[in-house]
């Protein structure tokens, strides 16, 4: 399993810690929402980067108030057909102005990467023989976009206005 962040293959500094597992002495961790809620003080006192992993039935308003403390929000795509996290990503970026790492985890496939990037996801846990190759293919799939998102890409409408 490879982690791509900002288009590059990187080592994952974060470790997932299960609900009933003791937190490691140091190091960045990602926990479930339930663990965050039960161990919040402990997690913050560690003074290490912390992230929350949201399941696809856990919308971002559950964590809206604590986003400033989170270095990573990991969004689960349990099956690639489950498209809820695309909305969660946009809400995190556009409603909550979340600036940290937004990571797609789970059933993350080449064919969905382009859309994920557009919704504001900037990191991907990909199962692939050639993760960077896949990512580059996906990123280049389209050069014209109709819909505005927070990704800063200029839409066809904006380009048309500029032209006239």
């Amino acid at each position: 399993m490879a982690l791509i962040k900002d288009g590059k293959l990187v080592d994952d500094v974060f470790v997932y810690v299960g609900d009933d597992v003791t937190l490691p002495a140091d190091g960045a961790v990602i926990v479930n929402l339930e663990r965050w809620q039960s161990s919040r003080e402990e997690l913050l006192q560690r003074n290490e980067p912390v992230g929350i992993r949201l399941r696809s039935d856990q919308p971002p308003d559950l964590i809206g108030a604590c986003l400033k403390k989170l270095a990573v929000v990991a969004l689960e795509f349990p099956a690639f057909r489950d498209g809820r996290a695309y909305s969660y990503a946009r809400l995190l970026r556009e409603k909550y102005d979340y600036r940290g790492e937004l990571r797609a985890v789970g059933d993350v496939l080449l064919e969905q990467l382009h859309f994920m990037v557009r919704t504001g996801i900037d990191a991907f846990e990909i199962h692939s023989e050639d993760p960077i190759g896949d990512f580059e293919i996906a990123a280049a799939d389209f050069s014209v976009w109709y819909q505005p998102t927070a990704d800063g890409r200029r839409t066809a409408l904006e380009l048309r206005r500029q032209r006239s």
Binding site: R81, Y86, S87, E111, Q112, V144, Y146, P148, L157
Partner: protein
């Protein structure tokens, strides 16, 4: 008609190449069927009983003659020489090969046609009224907003993996020819007190296993807010729509489960946040699209209805066709001509390649090059000079495309059914043909008048049986095909779902039952009541009796 600029063309070309890659990856096994299926569906390709079926979009039902010629070419080159027009203004090819699909799509892209999102759990073809821009009762041309919505929904990164399919329809006229009340989102234009156009937004309509008439979520929406409001509706649906059960995943389920008031609350909350953002539609974009739908250069012609009446008095056949298939145009001296693809011996909605070419040529010769597809699986030529009507009619007769049955018993909406579709429980096409063979007498058809029969081969209701004046649903009972009838459905601005008539009938009894229903109607109707009016006045009992007899008599299934 809308014409692609370089942005539209680039996007479509890139999509074709993306799909070409995806097909390659599938054929070499890099991706599994399970992974490939949603991608294939989002490009309109189904695996059906005989082969792959490709569903091609005809955006809001508007087609140029050039595009129709291409449809004929595709039918000959990649298929078995015919195509099928659907209840969502699309065309389907039944014999497509996966390995050919990218080239086929490339050819369609050459004439600005796509199959993008004609299937899949995403927003499908935006449909509308086949008389758009030409009917006299229109407030504004709905196609402008259909095109706006089409671009907004195509390859939307957030809404390509919705809980289920999503269908939007728009009507620009008070008379609803687009069935908006049975769509996931329906948009109805009206004028406010200040004479400005506003949309009434409806949500949660649909047919299928659990049919619903849509609720009004917003009475009056300014056009500039159309996209942001639709985005809010879609976002709430994407987040809250059920994903546990494929039969409970449409927006109609969640709207009716939580109630329209709660759904509206959630939508409005989200909409307040985004409505003045980047989705606000600038007037210049509306104007830009509007320019594509500007009325053509019409000649200044006198209305010659009186002269036509004289011809009609001596030519009974022409008179019959004029009465049923020709409607008034908003411009004096012009008419709108309907071509039904329904007749004894025809598969409803099907047309072969030669006839596609012929209709395209007639469109060029008689109707400024444009053809419309209606959700009743028929074609319309929208700009025919009155003075050319008789000549056009004669040409249509030679093609056997002049059946004078628009909106009548033999203008049957019929899904492909078990003959083609993997979802079906029963064959629908033979039922339509049976009914057609029983009602050959055109005078009787004219006597009966408006009566829509809609046939679906399964509960998915692609034949729109819930909103037929008579609906017929094919069911499988202990391995045998039976047909359940409903009465009193309607898809217009007074939409209603049909009421179940009684136990399912074997196929042979269906035309007999239709005869009995028609006889009962003719017996009971007052003045110029349509079948639907009589039904709404007298209720279902007389018809139940007519078909099933009294309780003492023999039961049928």
């Amino acid at each position: 008609m809308y014409r692609y600029d370089e942005f539209d063309q680039t996007l479509v070309a890139e999509r074709v190449e993306q799909f070409r890659r995806q097909v390659q990856r599938r054929l070499t096994g890099e991706i599994s069927e399970d992974q490939f299926k949603p991608l294939r569906l989002m490009n309109g390709l189904y695996m059906q009983l005989h082969a792959y079926m490709l569903r091609v979009n005809v955006p809001y039902g508007s087609l140029s003659s050039e595009q129709m010629h291409k449809f004929a070419h595709i039918a000959r080159t990649y298929d078995k020489g015919f195509g099928h027009f659907t209840t969502r203004q699309n065309i389907q090819y039944n014999w497509v090969k996966l390995e050919d699909a990218p080239d086929l799509l490339r050819e369609l892209a050459d004439v600005e046609v796509t199959a993008i999102q004609s299937s899949g759990n995403c927003v499908r073809n935006i449909t509308s009224d086949q008389y758009a821009g030409r009917g006299g009762d229109e407030i504004e041309d709905p196609r402008i907003y259909c095109e706006l919505l089409r671009q907004y929904t195509v390859l939307h990164p957030e809404f390509s993996y919705l809980p289920r399919k999503f269908k939007i329809a728009v009507t620009g006229a008070p008379k609803d020819r687009a069935a908006v009340a049975v769509h996931d989102i329906g948009l109805r234009m009206h004028l406010n007190d200040a004479g400005q156009m506003r949309f009434e937004v409806l949500v949660g309509g649909g047919q299928g296993r659990t049919p619903f008439i849509a609720h009004t979520i917003r009475e009056s929406l300014e056009p500039e807010h159309l996209l942001s409001y639709v985005e809010a509706i879609l976002r709430v649906y994407n987040i809250h729509g059920r994903r546990d059960n494929i039969n409970k995943a449409r927006i109609k389920i969640i709207v009716n489960q939580m109630g329209i008031e709660r759904y509206r609350e959630l939508v409005d909350e989200e909409w307040e946040r985004i409505k003045d953002g980047s989705l606000k539609v600038p007037q210049e974009e509306i104007d830009r699209i509007n320019a594509y739908f500007a009325s053509p250069e019409y000649e200044v012609l006198e209305d010659i209805s009186e002269e036509l009446d004289a011809v009609r008095k001596i030519d009974e056949e022409f008179d019959r066709w004029m009465k049923s298939n020709v409607v008034a145009h908003k411009v004096s001296g012009y008419s709108i001509v309907n071509i039904t693809l329904k007749a004894p011996g025809r598969v409803p909605g099907d047309i072969n390649a030669d006839d596609m070419d012929a209709v395209a040529d007639l469109a060029d010769q008689y109707s400024l090059g444009e053809i419309r597809i209606s959700h009743r699986q028929n074609l319309t030529l929208v700009d025919v000079k009155q003075q050319a009507l008789h000549s056009l009619w004669q040409e249509l007769k030679l093609l056997e495309l002049a059946t004078p049955n628009l909106g009548q018993i033999t203008d049957i909406i019929c899904c492909p059914g078990l003959d083609y579709c993997g979802l079906a429980n029963a064959r629908s096409i033979p039922v339509a043909d049976d009914i057609n063979q029983h009602f050959v007498d055109v005078d009787r058809l004219a006597l009966v008048g408006d009566l829509t029969i809609n046939i679906s081969g399964c509960m998915n209701a692609c034949g729109h049986h819930h909103v037929g004046n008579i609906g017929i649903l094919g069911v499988d009972k202990r391995g045998k095909e039976f047909f359940q009838l409903t009465l009193g459905g309607s898809s217009d601005e007074h939409a209603s779902l049909g009421d179940r008539l009684g136990p399912g009938l074997p196929q042979a009894d269906v035309p007999i039952a239709i005869e009995a229903i028609v006889d009962q109607y003719l017996q009971d109707r007052q003045e110029d009541e349509r079948f639907l009016d009589t039904y709404r006045r007298i209720g279902i009992e007389p018809f139940k009796k007519a078909v099933y007899g009294t309780p003492e008599s023999k039961d049928v299934a």
